[in-house]
């Protein structure tokens, strides 16, 4: 087969049974690949709302993209899809690294893991050889040790994906680590693996990837590569990493600090990508498979009392959640915290957000010294933050156990209005470090995101109009350049809707979303042409975008089966009720009224019912999703 390898590999780790399924030709047209086909598979197996994240019937699906394994720039990413543990809703997470490409070279587009093992296991895949193996020797090991053992057993060229001690303990903040320092971090996919007692997946593949029209494919890939080479956003990502933007975000008073009570930090320089370079911590710029940008970092501390600390990152989000958030304005401090998270398998965003909530709760007297196991929490105390993060990863003591359940559960246990400073929305995922009070398309995108409020189901960076390419996107979507400003609420629904589709097809093909929604080398037009050259499946730009909308609609409908309604599409209490602390938008909120206006328009654009937010039969049938409409009707959840 061209583009795809054409195979879905199923593994039941309870029985050890494995089987293959051909990807139906129709799916390649309707859902394209990776995130898209994952959505269809999850729907088919897990639509029944009695299947919760910890149910043995829950599945977890891993999939590189339709063009992963090729020279299409930055196309080596992998989507991970399951019933999420943090929210209990739809979870798609996405990781870089080199594991997904290896799975594709082993001959598979999707790996579907079923069942629960009695004892810890790992899956070994070497081309056609697939085996569920005993993981007793891996259980309890950290990420570095696990990777080293897998490489010792299966060769230096094997690629690993694994959970650490946090995932084993079903910590909601646990992260699925991939190729050591990359992560499908958000939403607790690692806890799903932990519940299944699935420690790791080691892959080695030697089968080529073929495309239908190599000459045409190379031409389109070159076009994308050259656009990205010239793109200022991509250049900055290579030079300074994702954290290169922190200085500018801070200047906008949009860099959340002290649990979102501040937006501006005096001398934030130590926690920027620029500081990593200048102070000599940056050892290497690193790329995911096939990526021409190379935004990832490998940083080390070589001198002083912390010498020997080395890991991937830190990223923007890590400098935010574990640096500015808890007040650790210290390069080495964040490097230390980042290393702990990568080693024990924690999502740095959630780890940082729950830590900040704990600090504020302690300062308010809502958490006692007994609750914190004696830690005197406060802003800017590295030792205390370090201990909190370690406790979280290991569910150690009262504090570790409380935070290990995530804010959705912790705020219920603690009560005392502690939800008011828990930075999560009604779905229950801790928010990533984007100041939605001063960026309105982001606010809407975060509110409607099926997995909770973050920037990783769609990204609307273009609304800032930070480059000519970004302004062009806004003009294309809204008809006028003047809407390229994040302070407007007008046309935000249109901007979000367009980016949802674009983001989805970007991931379906295996591209990094930076290529199409943070830099602008990959776009719906050249993706459609590339997909045609890869597979022979001709689609117009509009048809390609429609596959994105189809997938987003399945993801939405999946949440409807779990009881999601319009009330779940909101933002954290603090952001809806407390004004931004300083800067040009001092006092600005994400008020319910403002959000309602944008939501009405957004549902209208989707053809969803405004009262419930549920997709209508007409909309579903227009998207070839009659089977979804029929099931929702059975559940009484069709408007």
């Amino acid at each position: 087969m061209y583009g795809h390898q054409g195979k879905i590999l199923h593994v039941d780790i309870g029985t050890g049974k494995t089987w293959l399924e051909d990807i139906p030709e129709e799916w390649r047209r309707l859902y394209v690949g990776s995130r898209g086909i994952n959505a269809k598979i999850l729907w088919d197996y897990c639509k029944d709302p009695s299947i919760t994240w910890d149910d043995p019937r829950n599945i977890i699906i891993f999939a590189p993209g339709a063009v992963t394994g090729t020279t299409a720039p930055a196309s080596g990413r992998t989507s991970v899809t399951t019933v999420g543990c943090t929210t209990g809703l739809y979870l798609k997470s996405n990781t870089g690294g080199h594991w997904g490409a290896e799975l594709k070279f082993a001959g598979y587009d999707h790996l579907v893991v079923h069942g629960v093992a009695k004892e810890p296991v790992y899956i070994l895949i070497e081309d056609d050889h697939v085996e569920v193996r005993d993981a007793k020797k891996l259980w309890g090991k950290d990420i570095i040790q696990t990777d080293a053992l897998l490489k010792e057993w299966h060769g230096e060229d094997s690629r690993g994906l694994y959970i650490g001690p946090a995932g084993e303990r079903l910590v909601r903040a646990a992260s699925i680590q991939c190729s050591l320092y990359h992560a499908a971090g958000r939403g607790g996919g690692a806890a799903v693996m932990g519940k299944k007692k699935l420690k790791a997946i080691s892959v080695r593949g030697t089968k080529p990837v073929r495309v239908k029209d190599p000459k045409k494919f190379a031409e389109v890939a070159q076009e994308m590569r050259e656009l990205l080479r010239k793109d200022s956003g991509a250049q900055s990502l290579h030079e300074f990493g994702t954290s290169g933007s922190i200085g500018a975000v801070n200047e906008l008073h949009a860099f959340p600090g002290k649990n979102w009570q501040t937006g501006y930090t005096e001398n934030a320089h130590p926690i920027t990508g620029q500081a990593l370079n200048e102070l000599g911590y940056l050892k290497r710029r690193v790329a995911c498979f096939g990526c021409t940008i190379g935004c990832h970092r490998y940083s080390t501390i070589e001198k002083g009392p912390n010498a020997g600390i080395a890991s991937g990152g830190p990223e923007y989000e890590t400098f935010g959640a574990l640096g500015n958030g808890p007040g650790i304005i210290d390069t080495e401090g964040v490097l230390i915290l980042n290393e702990i998270c990568n080693r024990l398998g924690l999502d740095t965003i959630t780890a940082g957000t729950v830590t900040q909530w704990a600090i504020e709760s302690y300062l308010r007297g809502v958490l006692t010294k007994e609750d914190t196991d004696g830690l005197e929490l406060d802003w800017g105390k590295l030792e205390e933050v370090k201990k909190t993060v370690e406790k979280l990863a290991l569910r150690d003591g009262n504090l570790g156990d409380l935070l290990g359940d995530g804010l959705k559960i912790a705020t219920k246990k603690v009560g005392k209005d502690s939800y008011k400073w828990a930075i999560m929305n009604a779905k229950g995922l801790e928010q990533s470090n984007v100041e939605t009070r001063s960026a309105k398309a982001y606010a809407l995108a975060f509110a409607v995101n099926p997995r909770g409020n973050d920037h990783l189901m769609t990204e609307t960076f273009a609304e800032f109009g930070a480059s000519p390419e970004a302004i062009e996107v806004i003009e294309k979507v809204t008809g006028d350049k003047k809407w390229a400003s994040p302070h407007f609420t007008e046309y935000r629904a249109e901007i979000v809707r367009w980016h949802e589709d674009c983001y989805e097809i970007t991931e379906a093909l295996g591209f990094c979303v930076f290529t199409s929604t943070a830099a602008y080398g990959v776009n719906p037009d050249n993706m459609a042409r590339l997909y045609a050259a890869a597979t022979g499946i001709e689609m117009s730009e509009e048809e390609m975008m429609l596959t994105g909308r189809r997938v987003c609609t399945i993801e939405k409908a999946f949440n409807v089966t779990r009881g999601a309604t319009r009330e779940h599409d909101n933002l954290p209490w603090r952001l809806m009720n407390e004004g931004a602390a300083s800067g040009p938008l001092k006092g600005e909120k994400n008020s319910q009224e403002e959000l309602d206006g944008m939501l009405d328009r957004y549902y209208e654009l989707h053809g969803w019912d405004k009262k419930t937010s549920w997709p209508t039969r007409e909309t579903l049938e227009m998207l070839n999703l009659k089977f979804v409409a029929d099931y929702l009707e059975e559940l009484g959840k069709l408007p």
């Binding site: 394994g69 320092y181 073929r210 190599p214 190379a218 790329a287 498979f289 490998y298």
Partner: protein, 163 residues
């Protein structure tokens, strides 16, 4: 003007675009193990280390072949395999002082970089500039050797660690 290929390990991000591009231009498919350039990837230290035929002066591969299957173009330094004579013993793989030779995964014969006849396809794909096709001069020749020697030092260090 003569040109030469600069191969800088410090700029390599380990993405493997070069190997994939090579397999595409040589065989119309994507398979980094068919790349005439190989990236030795050491994930724990996030290192990518390029290995490829250097068209070297000493070319011990040629003498190592018991079948005389390898020949060298004196002008370009490019090595060619006589498919009929090669018996896939891999003596050249062991003989290469730059650890550059791999056997093709299917036909099991050694693969050599031929600089695409003077317009290396991989270079176009290397956006970070770890591969550069530059005019030959005293300076660039020196630089090429310096880059190569630091790659080989790193290679030996890694192999020692494994042993």
């Amino acid at each position: 003007m003569e040109k030469l290929l600069l191969v800088d390990m410090d700029k390599c991000t380990g993405c493997k675009q070069c190997s994939l591009a090579c397999s595409l231009t040589k065989e119309d498919l994507f398979d980094s193990s068919r790349g005439r350039i190989k990236i030795l990837k050491k994930e724990d230290i996030a290192l990518g280390l390029q290995l490829l035929c250097e068209q070297c002066e000493s070319h011990p591969c040629i003498a190592s072949c018991p079948n005389g299957a390898l020949s060298r173009d004196d002008k370009t330094g490019i090595i060619t395999v006589d498919e009929k004579l090669c018996t896939s013993q891999g003596a050249c793989v062991d003989a290469c002082i730059y650890h550059a030779i791999r056997l093709h995964p299917e036909i099991k014969q050694p693969m050599f970089c031929d600089l695409c006849g003077g317009d290396p396809y991989c270079v176009k794909h290397c956006v970070p500039g770890a591969l550069q096709w530059v005019n030959e001069s005293d300076d660039t020749s020196k630089m090429k050797k310096k880059f190569r020697s630091s790659r080989m030092t790193k290679y030996k260090e890694l192999k020692k660690e494994v042993a």
